[in-house]
């Protein structure tokens, strides 16, 4: 009985490890996502209402295409909301994007300077790449850690 349970728990661990093996993010995934974030931030900070709306639509559309490409390549999709503890990195990315977008709007509205918006876009790009890779790493470690 005990060995049967042990075998089944081992089979579960193997299946979870197989998911981790599958989740090999293409090298371009996070840089492309970072570019989408950067473009969104620039449009938000320097554009008018129409540009902001267009940027929002392009950002959402770009994210959908990116997810489709990832799913087609790996055959698996793990949403940040289904990622357990590793999902904290995805939440951190969302919070970062919100803060940077608001800061870009504030700079565009209360200042004539343009460089801070470009700096925020660069920070968005870098943060997206770093947090995205950290999410992947945490998720794979979590899947391999325990059944």
């Amino acid at each position: 009985m005990e060995s049967n349970a042990a075998e089944q728990l081992a089979a579960i661990a193997d299946a979870r490890a197989a998911v981790a093996d599958r989740l090999v993010t293409p090298w371009w995934y996070h840089p492309v996502l970072g570019l989408l974030v950067g473009a969104y931030v620039v449009a938000f900070g320097l554009g008018n209402s129409a540009a902001r709306l267009a940027a929002g639509v392009c950002f959402a559309g770009g994210c959908v295409l990116l997810v489709k490409a990832y799913r087609r390549r790996t055959g698996v999709w793990v949403s940040g909301l289904d990622a357990g503890r590793a999902g904290r990195w995805a939440i951190a990315m969302g919070v970062m994007l919100g803060i940077i977008a608001l800061a870009a709007v504030a700079v565009g509205r209360y200042s004539d300077l343009r460089w801070p918006v470009w700096a925020l876009a660069a920070a968005g790009f870098t943060g997206t790449v770093l947090l995205g890779r950290q999410f992947d790493k945490a998720l794979r470690a979590q899947l391999r850690a325990a059944a």
Partner: protein
């Protein structure tokens, strides 16, 4: 008191399917077939059992190219799988607990 075993999930291939699906949001049919190393018909049969129990949902996104089937655990499926894993862990920690096979032997 330990969680009950789930007869639908208990079969080895279905347990592996559920373990894989629980770790992901959605999975392509071919990936599951590769995981189990079985024919399409065998996998379809197992998925049908899980689908009839309300544990998995299957979608075929429309679009250009070959249509692929994507499989996900439902909320009910995730709960049932979590209960089953708890029961396995309890059995592993306390081997004197009865398994479903013991129950069947006792009934027979």
């Amino acid at each position: 008191m330990s969680e009950p075993f789930d007869e639908v999930i208990h079969a080895p291939n279905r347990l592996r399917i559920c373990a894989f699906l629980d770790a992901a949001t959605s999975t392509e049919f071919g990936v599951l077939r590769e995981l189990l190393g079985v024919a399409d018909s065998v996998l379809s049969k197992h998925l049908k059992v899980l689908q009839d129990a309300g544990y998995v949902s299957m979608t075929k996104p429309t679009g250009r190219g070959r249509v692929k089937t994507w499989v996900s655990l439902t909320a009910e499926g995730r709960q049932a799988y979590a209960r089953h894993v708890s029961a396995l862990r309890a059995l592993f920690d306390s081997p004197q607990l009865p398994t479903p096979s013991d129950d069947m032997k006792a009934a027979g």
